[in-house]
Amino acid sequence: MTEVLGARAPAPHHHHEPLSERSAHPVAISLERVSKRFIGKRSSTLAVDDASFEIRSGEFVSLIGPSGCGKSTLLRLVAGLMSPSGGRMSVNGITPREARRRRQFGIVFQSPVLFDWRTVEDNIGLPLQVFRTPKDEARARVHELTATVGLTEFLDHYPWQLSGGMQQRVAIARALTFRPPFLLMDEPFGALDMITRDRMGSELLRIWAATPGTTVMFITHSIPEAVLLSDRVVLMSARPGRVLRTVDIDLPRPRTEAVRESPAFFEYDTELRRLLIEADGQDE
């Protein structure tokens, strides 16, 4: 059913090709000098200022920066949930708002945003219910995804019967049920404990590999998480949010927990940390 939408990137590929090849993919999301100003009754706040970057089709790109750097605002702009105050944005050649109307985005928030009155199965099937997908087709897809995120035994459980990590896996499955070309994640593991969080990182990579062609925009304030997951990391400064620079993460895929112990991982981690600290110093 999503195939009707047609805006999916043409280049078929799988995720484990070298980064250099993926950088030849067409640009899927582009931001040019995008800014967002929130206007209140007394004052206005510049949340994002002059943000420019590109995400290529099939890439995993993380946005990293301190709290209040407008990362979430950028995600909402890309998702077409709000309009920019300035600049140009395009998602596969159309506006984010139009892309949203064509159901191009699966979104995962920091809180799982599950509906208390729905079971795991019905929560994951929510998008398909909204799209009026035929019941049999929807059920098959939901079961397939539930298996992918490893929650088959919990299909008829309610959200409050699940742990935080499991709830977030339900949210990821829900975002992927309708095979959106884009997966937008806003600090999805931010509320989890460190151990669960690390595990969810590798989980996400595995799920991503199981949904080929999905372009991911991932927001985080954890440097190691960004390094582990991403093809590229976009560094942002504190309010107003500016793009400091973009760093390619050229680590081989598939990446597992073992990557964390490699010297290259450590180098990326150190470099990103240094860049963020430098930026912080310039601001004060």
Partner: protein, 281 residues
């Protein structure tokens, strides 16, 4: 995936802790009832001792009241039915209108701002003042009773619905937006289910009050009703006091029953609510 241990989340309740049993609850309720009756008998007995000739009408013995109900079962049953059924019917009408108003007000800020003050103002009118007006307009005590029960319910429900529909957080709305869900879908899939607990806490208050509304109409002279029974008992004189008491007890029992039924329906419709969670599995 299989290497991921799954957290046991269902064993939260201490298995050793005794589950509160239904029977124990009933026992406690009966005990409290017995205590109330004992105090009542004692009070009535002491009043008799003072030699007050009207003691029997000021505080009749409970068995005298029961005796009166048994002697005139037809009259009492008819009165209870007349008032109770109209209260229930009015309650449902009020529920419908309240839902409609709540849903209407959530559609646009300007609608809420322009409707809400009138909804609030409607409750500033004393019910007792409304009755003669409505009687003049409707010219039928049955309809007036229905109207008043609905009127009381409508207010509580529309406020509860409005709050409930607004209780959804921004992320949920963004989620629905990202799926490009229409207004009606958002209402059906998200807003209404989220409003259920709010609506029911409103209904639990509205249910007994709808009965009060119906009785107020009775009091102004509708035949064969609980309120009429009360007025008649007072008018005829002290000898009929047990009728007054019987009507009072029946109406408060009925009110309690309504509230309990609403509670049971709520449990049935929304077992996912935090308060009911133990009973889901």
């Amino acid at each position: 995936m299989s290497d991921l241990p799954v957290e046991p989340v269902e064993e939260l309740r201490d298995p050793a802790a005794p589950r509160p049993s239904r029977l124990a609850g009933l026992g406690r309720a009966l005990l409290i009832l017995a205590i109330i009756l004992a105090i009542w008998y004692l009070g009535a007995f002491l009043l008799q001792l003072t030699g007050d000739r009207l003691a029997g009408s000021k505080l009749p013995f409970p068995h005298v009241i029961v005796d009166r109900v048994i002697t005139f079962p037809g009259t009492i049953a008819e009165a209870t039915w007349a008032t109770g059924s109209r209260a229930v019917a009015g309650f449902f009408i009020g529920l419908g209108v309240g839902l409609l108003f709540g849903i209407l007000m959530i559609q646009a800020r300007w609608l809420e701002v322009s409707i809400l003050p009138y909804v609030l103002a409607s409750q500033m009118i004393p019910l007792i003042a409304l009755v003669p007006i409505m009687r003049a307009i409707l010219r039928n005590p049955e309809l007036v009773r229905l109207y008043l029960a609905a009127y009381v319910t409508f207010f509580i429900v529309s406020i509860a619905v409005l709050r409930g529909l607004k209780s959804v957080n921004r992320d949920s709305l963004d989620l629905m937006d990202s799926l490009n869900a229409g207004r009606l879908t958002v209402l059906r899939v998200l807003r209404l289910p989220a409003a259920v607990p709010y609506i029911f806490s409103g209904l639990k208050i509205a249910a007994p009050l709808s009965l009060v509304g119906a009785i107020i109409v009775d009091l102004t002279g509708a035949q064969n009703s609980l309120g009429y029974l009360m007025v008649a008992a007072v008018a005829i004189g002290p000898s009929q006091a047990p009728f007054l008491w019987a009507a009072l007890i029946i109406s408060s029992t009925l009110g309690l029953l309504f509230a309990r039924i609403v509670g049971a329906v709520e449990r049935r419709i929304s077992p996912w609510q935090p308060a009911f969670r133990e009973s889901v599995d």
